[in-house]
Symmetry: C2
Subunit: 238 residues, 2 copies
């Protein structure tokens, strides 16, 4: 017992490189109602965002996770807020600021239905109803372009089926975020909803964008790697 206690004392404390940092993370899909029973969804499982939340918490951060509808349990020690639509998600993200680091891993619906019905949409003899779409709030761009409460490090995700790097570079410029985790979801990779990701990390330094291509990893490994990269970067700049 005394020996065990000595080992515990002698063992270096677990590194907590994100101690005292507030990290805000989004995860999962959003559901956009068409009528009381139908909605538009996407195939995001939420696993990547949840893994990042767990990794950031393990690194000592104070983590808030805003998640769309997923079948995952709350990671231990993380404040989890469940939402449905993109508009819900934006409101809860804004309410969770300020944060030192914001990581937007959710697959937010770009559009919602303009004429959301309060009654169930029915077939009519006039033929098919048209689903008119309107643009959803862009959470990544909105938070990246805040003037007062913009988190010092804003990280977006890009899931692309083609022209991955070019689309991700354009996205950094368009959204005004600092980093993009670009994820190859072309059907050939079979990653959407799966447990592994093929990821490229794009980091902006002024006008310069660096691309770091990672090997195929589990989502937990991507999360650990991303949190380690964040910690290293904060260590350099602080």
């Amino acid at each position: 017992e005394i020996a065990a206690a000595a080992v515990d004392i002698l063992r270096p404390p677990r590194p907590r490189p994100l101690a005292d940092k507030r990290v805000l993370i989004t995860a999962g899909p959003t559901h956009e109602a068409i009528d009381p029973v139908r909605y538009i969804a996407n195939r995001s499982s939420g696993k990547q965002g949840f893994a990042i939340a767990a990794a950031a918490q393990a690194a000592g951060a104070d983590v808030t996770l805003v998640s769309g509808p997923v079948e995952l349990r709350d990671p231990a020690g993380v404040t989890v807020i469940r939402v449905e639509s993109a508009r819900d998600m934006l409101h809860r993200v804004e309410a969770a600021l300020p944060a030192d680091i914001a990581i937007f891993a959710a697959a937010v619906a770009d559009w919602r239905v303009a004429n959301e019905g309060e009654q169930k949409l029915k077939k009519t003899s006039a033929g098919m109803p048209q689903l008119a779409l309107v643009e959803n709030p862009d959470i990544l761009a909105t938070i990246s372009k805040l003037t007062d409460k913009r988190p010092p490090l804003v990280i977006g995700f890009a899931a692309e089926t083609e022209h991955l790097i070019d689309n991700a570079k354009a996205k950094i410029a368009r959204k005004g975020c600092d980093w993009i985790v670009a994820n190859d979801v072309s059907p050939a990779t079979g990653v959407m909803g799966g447990d592994r990701n093929t990821v490229h990390l794009l980091t902006r330094d002024g006008d310069d964008i660096k691309v770091d291509s990672w090997p195929v990893m589990t989502k937990e490994q991507v999360a650990t790697e991303l949190v380690a990269t964040i910690a290293k970067t904060l260590g350099k700049t602080s």
Copy 2:
């Protein structure tokens, strides 16, 4: 031990009123792809269809359950076939015929997207993409109107937010089915995705339609009641 064996012998055998009957059941939502990552879904949990499958199996039937994407485990002793879209579901239902009783409890999407994209749909400066919809196959009507392999008893479900009975009566006539289980899913009832249903059973006898309004029940109770009603009806006619 001898006493226990005697009790077993003396105990009346469990009634199996649907022994030797083939029962085909659909359950759950369907997912209709918009592009490789987005789809149109609905809020069906699949619980009602799964409960009916379990009840029919317990009543001695040979049960095939064709289910859309749900988070439910296969009921014991039931042949379960998992599908995604309405077209998948129809194909698997047709392949499962003949059946003595068909119960279509799935919330099949009425429409799918006409221009399903192989690449992820992107925002363009031209503005919002239009989602043109085309009608899905109508599984209930298709099977009800079969001339060769029509099951002797075809039961549909109607989830309605308003004019429940009138819409359900019209549905029996339009689809050509024998019974409709009409389920009140107006937002006030909070039943969609929940564990209880407010159900009215409509049964057609020639041009006559009888309405039997059941008290609020769990989905398991609705299933047991429906299977008991089926067994009673078959007992009368056979």
